[in-house]
Symmetry: C2
């Protein structure tokens, strides 16, 4: 399964694990992209325009790649997994559109967010359209079991988003609560993407469950690293805009670690700042407290533990190039944080 999780590889200057998986699945992925573009067409011009703005902006397609790889790992390619992969990307895209409205985001994938260009209303409604189209794609597979998996994931994602909204500016958010939120808003779709691939491959039993575990653990690792990167990661030099979570009053795991390890005056700072009474001047202090308590390394260590569980779930599945690639993805997710 390659070197230990999170250790930079010798070939780290080459294509990363996602690019390598995309190359391995190049034919599938091209077909998925064709399905995506075919199903986002509409005579109502703003729909394909807004959808293309997001979908063609160079997202990594990591979720559909997982669906495709899970199916191939178990010996099945073809139409079914491709349609599901496109459906998974549509669910993800719809969620991003609605997220950006909720978070009043200005940027997404290095471009102006769709809500900035077309307005909140169009983003809400085109999100609805993509969400509906994801179900059209699933119906085309004729497989009620994958519909069940992805429809359940869709309601769990919405629950997670509402949970996150309700926890905003709640300075007392616990680690447990935070993990519930990211399990729902992020990991549920990774889990469903992997499981649906297995079920589409005609392997709904234990193999599907192992791939579901892989997806869930990978999704948790992915979100934890994202949340570390929102404070700049360990390098704090990613060129990425940092501090969005802080500004939005989202208590993520780095803050939980720093807050719970802090003395009374530090906890008072977090209570005030995460409770909603914060200014831009508070961000440097937040960063300093995260450093003092090693909160970013601790978060990355937690992510690494989940990535290792994701890899462990693969261990009894057929050993092939797809399994290796999925394992490498778990390494890659962690490496992003360093």
């Amino acid at each position: 399964m390659g070197p230990a999780v999170g250790q930079p590889k010798h070939d780290s200057g080459g294509p990363n694990a996602v690019d390598r998986l995309a190359a391995l699945l190049a034919e599938d992925l091209a077909a998925v992209d064709a399905l995506i573009h075919q199903h986002m067409t509409s005579p109502v011009g703003v729909i394909p325009n807004l959808a293309a703005h997001l979908i063609d902006a160079g997202g990594k397609r990591i979720r559909p790649l997982i669906t495709l790889a899970a199916a191939r790992l178990l010996g099945r390619g073809g139409d079914g997994p491709r349609k599901l992969a496109a459906a998974v990307e549509f669910i993800h895209s719809a969620t991003l559109l609605h997220d950006d409205v909720v978070d009043v985001s200005e940027m997404r994938r290095g471009k102006k967010a769709a809500n900035v260009v077309w307005g909140n209303s169009a983003s809400v409604l085109v999100g609805d359209f993509l969400f509906a189209r994801s179900f059209n794609l699933m119906v085309e597979t004729g497989d009620i079991q994958v519909l069940d998996i992805l429809a359940r994931a869709a309601s769990v994602i919405a629950e997670g988003e509402v949970m996150q909204l309700a926890a905003a500016n709640d300075a007392e958010t616990t680690r447990e609560r935070y993990m519930q939120i990211i399990a729902a808003k992020t990991a549920a779709l990774f889990a469903a993407a992997a499981k649906a691939g297995a079920v589409a491959a005609g392997r709904p039993g234990q193999e599907a469950e192992l791939l579901e575990t892989y997806g869930r653990e990978l999704g948790l690792a992915f979100q934890l690293v994202d949340d570390a990167l929102d404070y700049g990661g360990l390098a704090a030099a990613m060129g990425k805009n940092t501090g969005d979570d802080f500004r939005e009053g989202k208590v993520t795991l780095p803050v939980v670690f720093a807050r719970d390890a802090g003395d009374e005056s530090e906890r008072a700072f977090w209570r005030r700042a995460m409770g909603g009474d914060r200014s831009e001047d508070d961000f440097p202090r937040a960063l300093a407290l995260l450093r003092r308590h090693d909160a970013i390394s601790q978060t990355l260590a937690a992510a690494r533990a989940h990535a290792e569980r994701a890899q462990a779930a693969l261990s009894t599945l057929p050993a092939n190039a797809y399994r290796d690639a999925l394992s490498d993805i778990a390494d890659f997710v962690i490496e992003r944080g360093y």
Copy 2:
């Protein structure tokens, strides 16, 4: 099929046709309400609270009643049609929540709109939740054909909503364009509700198509009457807040009629007012122009024609109490405008 469409009935002081259909389907409807409440539960408190605020506010449940009646008309009750009826109400509820965000609505069903009480973000996300739950309910029926019908309707509805958004403040909106919008945003769900009931009854052929036509034509009639009522209807004394469409720059059929029949100065008024440069003082003039050109009666006459087509679609279906009740609903929809 009862008296001519749109003529007030002798028993108009008694229960209306929707109440009578609800009484005829009392057992089904109670089961649907139980399914609705069961599927809107969530450990995330704001979800059931916000959903109940809308769903328990006394909506007429006309769409689920149509699903139930279509199935019973063709001889089938039971679990399948009930789950679909609940799914249809969830799709409708999700649409209302998102509509109210898009339209910046303040009231809904005589109460503060959910977006006013909980905010736009919660309304968007709980709408997503209800939409996902509608698919959970459909999956429970195990019937991929009804999933197809309702998933298609869901994307058409979203297309219609985006079309309406794009047409806002477009003073030149044609009658044809307006009809496209309401066919998508309103009539598609009525059509799917009726067709899904027929398919759930095991009658996917011509009977399902006739019921689909019934639903579509009824939906068009329903929306036309709604749009007439937004200018007060013929009585202009419904106690309902009027003028929302005018204030939101929505060119509905009454405006199309008055504008197209107007002289140059009247057309200039509509161009300015519906083009976005309007004030509250313009509304009385708009009402006066609608009266001058009989635009409300013409709109109701157009609605009546659709209601008659809805009733005609029923004529070759089995004659029973459910068919009569569906026919009466078409009368009722028109009577609302008088």
